[in-house]
Amino acid sequence: MTKTSMTVNGKAVSAETEGRTLLSAYLREGLGLTGTHIGCDTSQCGACVVHVDGKAVKSCSVFAQDVEGADVTTIEGMANADGSLGTIQQAFQDHHGLQCGFCTPGMVMSSAALLAENPTPTEAEVRHYLEGNICRCTGYHNIVKAVMAASGQAVPAE
C-alpha cells in the first residue's frame, strides 16, 4: 500500500492505494466520493468519467498512482459555490436529461468537457462526443437537448 495524493474538487486529499487501484476505486472507496459510478469493466460505459487536469477521463481506465498530484474534478465538484446546480446540471434537470441517474455523473462530466472544448456544438457533434457514455433510460433525446440548451442553443420543444 502506498499513500497517493492529489487535489480533488479543490481539496488536497490522500488515500492508501495498491498499484492496481483504479482512480475510480480511489475516489469511491478511498475518498467516499460515490458520485462517480462504475457501470462496466471494459471502459465502455462512461459512468465513471471525471476530469483530470481539465480533461475528461474514464476513471476506471487509469491507476490512481498514475495521476498522483493531478487536479481532479468529480460530479461532487460541479455545483456552484452556493450549492446550487451548475449550468449543465441545471440544464439536465430542466430538460429531464436523466431518469435513474446512474449514467448521469459521467454524462455531466463528459458534457462539461465537450462544452469547454466546443462551446456551441451541433446536435451531431453532441451525439458524437457522447458516444462513450451509455444511457439505458433516456433514449438520449433529453440528454442531447440538455447539452444543447446548456450551450445556449435552441432545442426541440418536446
Binding site: 492496481r20 465502455q44 446546480l85 429531464h96 455523473p105 439505458r136
Partner: protein
Amino acid sequence: MPKDGGIGDSTKRREDIRFLTGKGRYTDDINLRGQAYAYFLRSEVANGRINGIDAKAALAMPGVLAVLTGADFAGMGGNPAGWLINSRNGEPMKEPKRPVLAHGKVRHVGDAYAVVIAETYQQARDAAAAVEADITELPAVVDMAQALADSTNLVHDEIGTNQCFDWGWIEDNRAAVEEAFKNAPHVTTLELTNNRLVPNAMEPRASLADYDAGTGDYKLYTTSQNPHLHRLLIAAFVMGMPENKLTVIAPDVGGGFGSKIYHYGEEAAVLHAAKVLNRPVKWVAERSESFLSDAHGRDHVTKIELATTKDGQFLALRSETMANVGAYLSNFSTATPTFLHGTLMAGPYKTPLVYVNVKTVFTNTAPVDAYRGAGRPEATFSIERIIDKCARELGLDQAEIRRKNLLTPDQFPYTTPVGLVYDTGNYQATLDKMTELADLAGFEARRAESAKRGKLRGLGLSTWIEACGIAPSNLVGVLGARVGLFDAATVRVNATGNISVMTGAHSHGQGHETVFAQIVAEQLGIPATSVEIVHGDTSKIPFGMGSYGSRSLAVAGSAMTKAVDKIIAKGKKIAAHMLEASEDDIEFKDGNFSVAGTDKAKSFGEIAFSAYVPHNYPLESLEPGLEETAFYDPGNFTYPAGAYACEVEVDPDTGKVEIAAFTCADDFGNVMNPMIVNGQVHGGVGQGIGQALLENTSYDENGQLLTGSFMDYAMPRADDVPFYKVDHSCNTPCTHNPLGVKGCGEAGAIGSPPAVVNAVIDALHRGGHTHVSHINMPVSPARVWAAINSK
C-alpha cells in the same frame, strides 16, 4: 428547485438534485462497518458435472474468510417460477429446482457454483483463482429446435425432456382457426425470430447483507424493482424464515427494465454468508457478470400466419412459437411468453379468430425472463410484421390495411378472441395524429431527396396495443399466478400537516418521488413540496408488488388515491365536529373543509393538527391521528395503445441503416406529468431501436456467450438515434381506475421494433429489392447487405 405543480404539470423532478450532485445512494454506495466482500465463481462451461470443489488453497490466502459452495445451500428451497402454466394436454409445466448455487451440475456459462468471502474485494477475487473446481464438461443444449428434438441430452435430467410446457391459447379456438385458414382467400406466412437481449440497466446488480445475531434479523440492501417480492421469495421460498425476520431495502436503483424484478441466488448467498460470518457481506456485479447471469429478454422463434380476404380484411391469425427460458425458470419466465404474449395476439384489430401455440424450452444458456415490454413486444413484432408482409402481397397501403382492421371506438368494451376485455381506446385517433405529426404526406418528397444522395428511404408503421397494470388478482390466479398483484399505500398526515406517502411501487428512474407527490398534492389541495414519497423499504411500507409492467400509477397510484380518499373522509368527520355541522354538509375543496353554503371552513392543516392534538375532537366516535392505508386490486388490465412511424435511410452499398425520423402518437389515458411521460417514451423507443438495429445476444454451439461485454454487445449510443417526436394528446382515460391512467413505461419498446424493420423492408422494396420479404433483428449492415445481394 422543483416547482409546485399538480396533476398534468411538467414538474421538474425533485430526485434529480441528488442524482446531479453525486448524492444518489445506490446499493454500492452503502457501506456497513466491518463488511466483507463476496466474489462468485461462475461456470466456464455451458453444461458440466461438478465432481468436486477444493477450496483449501483459497482458504489459506490472505484475507479469506470463507468459501461456500452449492453443498452449503443444498438444504434451502428453490427459487420458484411465479406462474404455473399447464400444457395443452393439461399436464403442469416442468419446474426443476433452481438452487441458490449450482450443486451437482452447472447449467450455463456464468452459473455460480461457489462464493469466496474475504476482507477486501480484491482478496476475494484473487482467492477465487485458487479454488479448484473439478467440472466435467458435457455437450451443451443451445438450439431450441434441437433441444426439443433430442430427449437424450437434457438440461435437467430429472424432468426427462427439454420442454417446459406446450401451451395453447385459446385451445377452444384452434379448430375454428384451422377451418378459417382452410377457406381463406389469402394467407400470408412469415417465420421470424425475436432476438435475445441483455437488459443492461446501467447499474449492475448488487447486494449488501447484514445479520443481527442478537435478534436473528436479516437486512438486505439490493437492486430491486420490488423489495416486498424479494422478501417473499427469499424468506418464504428459499431461506425458509419468517418474513418478519427479513428487511429488504432497495435504495436508489440505476434502472431495471425487468432484470431487477427477480430474485437471484447471489442475494440469498450473501444473506447466508452474513449469518455464518456474523458480519455484513457485500457483492457488486461486474458488468461481465451481468451479461452472464442477469435474466435475458425475448428469444422467440415464431411462425405466424394471417388469413385475409383479397382486400385485406383479417379473418384469422395463428402463431407457433418456441420461447427460450434458458437453464432455469426465472420468476416471471413462464408468464412472459404466455399470458403477456398470447393474450395480446389480437392486437388493436378486429381479427375474429386467433390461436397461439407456445413451447418453452430449456437450454444451457442464462435464464430468460421479462424485459421492458415482456411478451408484448414479441406479440407486436409478429403481428405488425405479418401485416406489413400481407399488405405488400395484396398491394395495399400500410396505413390503409391497418385502418381497415382497427377496432373502432364504438366497439368498446371489446372482448378479444384471446381472453382480454379492452375497456376503451381510439386507435383511429392515434393513427391520424401520427399521420399528421410524421407528415406522411411529405414522405415521397423526402424519399426523392434521399435518393439524390444515393440513399434508399423507407417508411414503416406500427399500430400497437399492450396490457398493463398487472393485474386483477382473481383473474391471474385462475391463469396460474402464485401471487396476488394488487398494491398498497399508506398516506400519513403528520401533525404539522406535511405528508409521508409510503408506496409499494419502486422508482428506479420513473420519477415517482415527483409525480406521486403531484397527485397527492392536487387531491389534498396542498403544495407538492409538503408531500414526501417513501418507497423501497419493506420496514417502512405496508406492502407492495413493486414496479414492472407499467403498473406503478395504474395500481400503486390507485392504492394511494384510495388512501387519500380515506384521509378526506376522516377529515370531514373531524371538520364536522369542529364546525358543529353534519358530516354530510362538509365539502372538501382546494385544501379546505367547509360547511356547504356557508363561509365556515377549516384548512387541511387545522384538521391535521386537531387529529394529533385532539382537544376539540369527537374522541368517543373517532380515533385520533390521520393516517390511512389502502390496498387496491385492479378490476382489469389497462390498455395503452399507439401508432408509430419510422423513417429510415439505407445505404445500399454498405447495408447501414440510419433512423431518419421516429414519431409516436400514444394513448396513455390521463397524463400526470407530460415531461416524464415523454421521457419514458424516448427511453423505450431508444431500446426498441437498439433491438431492431443493434443488439443481439449470441451463444455459440458450445453455449459460450459471444457477446459478453459492451465491446461485443452493441448498445444504442447517442449517435445511433435521432430526436423523437412524441405525442400523447389522444387520450381515452382508463375506465376502471381512479386516475384514468394506463401506463407508459413499456410503450416505446413495444411499438418501435416493427416500425423500424418495416421501414427497412419498405426502403428495400422502393429501391427495387422486392425479393426481400424479411430480415431478422438486429437489422445489421451485414444482414441488410446480404439480403440486398441475395438474389
